[in-house]
Symmetry: C2
Subunit: 341 residues, 2 copies
């Protein structure tokens, strides 16, 4: 899987400028995890779409078609989670290469249907096309969120705690195991492989944050903290300081990093595809957060830093401070919005 070139922020802005300003019922347009529409009623309609491309986002040598079906929906549900919402409907566009068995498309469908059922999503249409090379999947999802509960990237306040809902770097470490054929004990490798091949969208955690108004700003971790926290900072006109010692890194990520001679924080902060939530909460919200997550049967969120003035994301290590903002795994996102770059 070739690593794509870096994002083109100038082009993003330029493309977005081409589009006419949206009408007033568009509550959120380009630049958050979902677009949000006020079409009347108590809820905003949330809308997102994501594309996975063979050779860029996945390699069928590692991922089963069933897992791919699940993941192609999961990455969209993660965008709905980032708004505090609940998903409802999906459309699928499937590009299928002529040299690949059509029965494999059925396996893909089984996986997609499975995750859809788990999260109460109805797949209600789509498009299927020939692909000259490799599988391409685009899934679009509609969801809803009560108007008073919608979470966005903007709204982080100086002094807020910065939290994540789970370990960081597991998905990136899992990908390294698959790519390099690394051998690890199954109990060490299994959660990493699962994180890469079959991520779970953090919809339950998102609803806790939304219903209890416990978060000021939220994003889902698709590109890695280094990039995604930068998005929160840009949208919130704030900076962030992370404590290296507080970053939750699993034993598996430690082991894979040792094998590769890399710093585990590199995988954790720049690896991407963890699909955990990254959010900021008021300075005094800690106990309430822990209690609410506990009551919901969810693992306690982990505080990894604080929101500060400025615009940079810095990491405080034993040897000092390091600026990490603006980097990360970017998939060459020209970024027309909806949750990316």
């Amino acid at each position: 899987m070739p690593r794509p070139p870096a994002g083109e922020v100038g082009l993003i802005a330029a493309l977005a400028e081409r589009f006419a300003p949206p009408p007033p019922e568009v509550v959120l347009g380009i630049g958050d995890d979902c677009a949000a529409l006020d079409l009347g009623g108590p809820d905003y309609l949330l809308w997102t779409l994501d594309t996975l491309v063979e050779g860029v986002h996945f390699d069928p040598a590692y991922i089963s078609l069933k897992q791919l079906g699940r993941k192609s929906l999961a990455v969209n549900l993660s965008d709905i989670a980032a708004m505090g919402g609940e998903p409802a409907y999906a459309l699928l566009s499937l590009g299928w290469p002529p040299d690949r068995e059509l029965s494999a498309a059925l396996e893909f469908g089984v996986g997609l249907a499975e995750l859809a059922r788990n999260y109460g999503v109805a797949v209600i249409g789509g498009d299927t096309v020939a692909s000259p090379r490799g599988i391409m999947v685009t899934v679009a999802v509609l969801g809803r969120v009560p108007k008073a509960e919608m979470l966005t990237r903007a709204g982080a306040e100086i002094g807020d705690g910065i939290y994540v809902t789970g370990n960081l770097g597991d998905a990136a470490a899992g990908l390294e195991i698959l790519r390099r054929g690394l051998a690890f004990a199954p109990d060490l490798a299994a959660p990493l492989l699962k994180a890469h091949l079959d991520p779970e969208p953090q919809l339950a955690a998102a609803r806790v944050l939304a219903q209890k108004r416990l978060a000021h700003a939220v994003i889902d971790l698709s590109d890695g903290v280094a990039t995604d926290l930068h998005h929160i900072c840009r949208a919130s006109l704030a900076g962030a300081r992370l404590e290296a010692g507080a970053i939750p890194v699993s034993a598996g990520v430690e082991a894979v990093s040792r094998e590769l001679g890399r710093n585990p924080l590199d995988l954790a902060l720049k690896g991407g595809e963890d699909y955990q939530l990254l959010f900021t909460s008021p300075p005094d919200a800690g106990p309430e957060l822990m209690e609410a997550f506990g009551r919901a049967g969810l693992p306690a969120p982990i505080k990894i830093g604080v929101v500060v003035s400025g615009r940079e994301v810095t990491l405080v290590t034993a040897s000092g401070e390091e600026i990490i903002s603006g980097s990360g795994f970017d998939h060459f996102r020209l970024d027309l919005g909806c949750g990316k770059a």
Copy 2:
């Protein structure tokens, strides 16, 4: 541009079976030009998405990036038209190859923005990804239609007249000119090239049909009458008989067909991509149709046949009857619905 293999109707059905039955607010799911949702209020929400793939649906040697931007939205607006609706919002997923200038993506954006503005569509987000080879575009569109006015593929009645909103085969003839480098007088070639490179969605005609309740069944002509009329017949449990002499064929299609030694009806009925509307109207609706289209400043629709019993689409020629149903240009659509196959 390789011609993709034929559609896989068995797979379509099999894939659709994998998905749980949709909840009751899903008024139309898999199997029409758009999905339709009843989220309260006087309108149904219409939702569709379409993918265009380099080497399958377009060749950048023929189409400019700006035209591609327009067309990637136009094909979706054509699906909204097929429901009698009005488009409102769009999301874009753009797959961009590393070897292609990013400035060309801006041209694409200019074209997309231009057509969006023409039809009052707000582009409110999307996704951009690296593509290992060739440009890939998926556009998703939301629109609306008053509940009492929605048009579908189902509802054609025996005895209905079958109409199209314009000439057939122009787009296919335009593609032949481009592919083969045929030389024709500009006044003959220009409308054919425009039909292929820059089709106009028939939204105004659709609104006339919807508001005046003048159509029993509607589909947009993406694959060609041979295929698309078959969809109406399948959805309406009816058959169709077309009059060869009534099929509207332009002088350009005649000329290109002569050059290629082909029957012009072949291009007209199986060429695809005309994005005209194909609809059925009650036997006595003819004069009202002509008057309504005339008052709206639209070209008169052309009657090409009648709805009959059975399930087949037949073409009546000087030499007899020929069954043409079920064929046509199909882009290997596994067809998960939303307007295809």
